[in-house]
């Protein structure tokens, strides 16, 4: 309660401009000093907010800002404020590596989420090992990328080879497939590896003939005309088509298939999962694996979509129908796992302890089992890849439906 003298002195301050300014300055200085003294936990992220994967990078940024706000609104991490520094790598491997150096060396972050692509991960993960900081990719699924860069590299994704072992048998059974034609994006390292090695091996294991095995059909990222390749595919009359490309490139193939009347079921890798691809040719069934999709059931996943979707539509600068992607879910889980590690492994966040703190996060992740992700429990195998649930989805007439649930389990590790 303020007494009458207090009221008078307050009035004097308000009526005297110089006193008012002085008081405001003192208040703001003390507030500033209180903020400056508040302990802070620094994490970093490398996302492609520009370049060919800008859609994923921009939605990743909105996801991370949402998580940062949620964490700080809930009291921070062990009383410390969370700060996530997000750097754009333009999906360029060299920029991703430089960004990680800036985050680890100059910003002194405790761990980094990203980079997104396998090409960037190939170049950035060795830097993570050199700088002794954990880096976890949200989208890289080219086989063996984290395995080559132990112990600091992790991926919250599942190897495409493992996913194809479940996807292809479902594709064969659901559509009675005996032969397929393969078309892939030769410029995209993951798409080319899936199109040239992973899918052919999985198809052969399931006794599915490849009609263009000796004559691979490919195109390059950015090509707008694939009519010649699709004409060739149509002439071979396969029962189904393998499209190995990022969804934005796959849309070009699907539109051309529809234009030429090649209405055959399509199978591919995680790169196909998006809501946009379903609108390109709704009558063509698409089979692809995913660890998360926007219409997924479950309390955690539904809450995540409910919270993120309005923010994405308001802040990302992307088309109004944008939905949270699998990579948004993955990066959300990555930073959530870092927060879990910081809370449980005695990380101090003090500048003097940065090396020890980074090692604690690494060790926590390496032993992690049963962390509650958006689609179920998550752990990591000895190669640094995620052990988590995945789903074989069928997309048709504008919606994804779950057809098979699988788990990327590994020997001597807890399953999903």
């Amino acid at each position: 309660m303020v007494n009458s003298n207090g009221k008078k002195s307050m009035l004097k301050v308000i009526l005297n401009p110089s006193r008012l300014l002085g008081t405001l300055a003192v208040i703001s200085l003390s507030a500033g000093s209180a903020l400056a003294q508040a302990p802070e936990i620094a994490l970093g992220a490398v996302v492609p907010s520009s370049g060919p994967f800008a859609e994923w990078g921009r939605s990743n940024s909105v996801t991370l800002k949402m998580l940062e706000k949620q964490t700080n609104d809930a009291g921070g991490i062990n009383g410390a404020k969370l700060k996530i520094t997000i750097l754009d790598d333009g999906a360029k491997p060299a920029q991703a590596a430089s960004s990680l150096r800036k985050l680890a060396g100059d910003e002194k972050v405790l761990a980094v989420a990203g980079p997104l692509t396998s090409s960037a991960a190939e170049v950035t993960f060795p830097v993570a090992n050199e700088m002794k900081v954990v880096a976890t990719s949200q989208a890289s699924s080219k086989p063996g990328v984290a395995k080559l860069n132990r112990p600091w590299a992790f991926r919250n994704t599942i190897d495409e080879g493992m996913l194809a072992k479940t996807t292809v048998p479902y594709f064969k059974k659901a559509f009675n497939i005996k032969s397929v034609g393969i078309i892939f994006d030769a410029k995209d390292a993951t798409a080319a590896t899936v199109g040239k090695a992973i899918m052919p091996a999985a198809l052969k294991a399931n006794e599915i003939a490849i009609v263009n095995e000796s004559d691979p059909l490919s195109f390059n990222t950015g090509d707008l005309d694939v009519s010649a390749q699709v004409t060739k595919l149509k002439s071979l009359n396969p029962d189904g088509v393998v499209v190995s490309a990022d969804y934005s490139q796959a849309i070009t193939v699907l539109r051309e298939m529809k234009r030429q009347g090649l209405i055959k079921p399509v199978v591919g890798a995680t790169q196909l999962i998006s809501s946009a691809i379903l609108k390109a040719a709704p009558e063509i069934p698409i089979i692809a694996p995913a660890t998360f999709f926007a219409t997924m059931k479950g309390e955690a996943a539904e809450k995540f979509v409910t919270n993120l979707q309005p923010l994405l539509r308001k802040e990302s600068g992307l088309p109004a129908e944008i939905e949270p992607s699998m990579y948004d879910a993955n990066i959300y889980e990555i930073v959530s796992m870092y927060i879990d590690a910081i809370k449980k492994s005695g990380v101090t966040g003090k500048p003097a302890d940065v090396e020890a703190d980074r090692a604690k996060i690494r060790d926590h992740l390496a032993k992690l089992e049963g962390f509650q992700g958006l689609g179920g429990p998550i752990g990591f195998n000895d190669d640094g890849d995620a052990i988590k649930a995945f789903y074989v989805l069928q997309g048709q007439n504008g919606a994804w439906d779950t057809k098979v649930r699988g788990c990327s389990s590994a020997p001597n590790h807890a399953g999903c």
Partner: protein, 278 residues
């Protein structure tokens, strides 16, 4: 110097060599949009020599430069029939051809890329980049460079005064290819991973842009261009989403104000208080 700035200087050194490879060819009046292909040859060959055959890096780079130089000479001969935009299109085609070759070359990993190189320091990169730049600045003061300039200014007149224009143009292609190959070898051993997508059309454009932005009449211009192209986008990071737009705007403004590039002989004379030759 922090490891972040060291990595940016390493990138600038690699880009400088790529820009010099374009500059050397441009000095004879030829524009190559395919120098990323020579860079790819250097990257893959030097990586093969160091990883598979255990050769030390310096001789591996030398062998790669010689091999790329020979290929450059071979490419240079058919290019003699072409000029201007037609030559640019032909070299662009060569670049795409080489990229496709490496995509379908499983011995070096194909589209999956190639690993196993040992990481090199920024000092090693700049020993090569600085050394080649110094040699080029010395060559710029030699008779050979005057002959190249003569071919650049008027090929017919140069031929009429007895210069071997074929040897000069093809030689420039060979030397340019060798310098690009060294850039590729250093790139491969700096990033310790290469894939065909690293050596696409965009890379060749970066080389040309660094040369034109910095100044296409002096080797020193490539140095300025390479440093600007690497550091400017990084310094513009605080403006987040607008940084690439701001970078593009700055490039346009620079080229509007100085069409000849940032550095030219007049500016250099002004900076060094030298008088123009009468």
């Amino acid at each position: 110097m922090s490891t972040y700035y060291a990595s940016l200087f390493a990138e600038a050194g690699i880009l400088l060599l790529g820009a010099l490879s374009v500059y050397i060819i441009l000095a004879t009046g030829q524009l190559s949009l395919g120098n990323a292909a020579f860079m790819a040859i250097g990257a893959y060959l030097s990586s093969y020599l160091t990883v598979e055959l255990g050769m030390p890096l310096t001789p591996a780079l030398t062998v790669s430069a010689i091999a790329a130089g020979i290929i450059g000479v071979i490419v240079g001969f058919p290019a003699l029939r072409l000029k201007g935009i037609y030559l640019a299109m032909a070299t662009l085609g060569f670049g795409e051809m080489m990229r496709s070759f490496f995509i379908n070359f499983p011995a070096m990993g194909g589209s999956g890329g190639f690993h196993g190189m040992a990481h090199i320091s920024v000092g090693y990169i700049w020993a090569w980049a600085g050394g080649i730049l110094v040699v080029l600045i010395l060559v710029e003061r030699s008779r050979v460079w005057l002959e190249m300039q003569a071919v650049h200014d008027d090929e017919t007149a140069a031929g009429l005064v007895g210069l071997n224009t074929v040897a000069i143009k093809v030689g420039a292609f060979g030397i340019g290819a060798a310098v690009a190959a060294i850039s590729g070898g250093l790139f491969a051993h700096h990033h310790v991973y290469i894939e065909p997508a690293n050596f696409g059309f965009e890379r060749s454009i970066d080389f040309v842009l660094a040369t034109i932005l910095g100044g296409s009449t002096l080797g020193l211009g490539s140095l300025i261009g390479a440093i600007l192209l690497v550091f400017l986008p990084e310094f513009l990071r605080p403006i987040a989403d607008w940084r690439l737009a701001a970078f593009g705007t700055l490039l346009i403004l620079v080229l509007l104000v100085r069409r000849q590039g940032i550095v030219d002989r007049t500016l250099l004379r002004g900076l060094t208080f030298r008088k123009a030759a009468s």
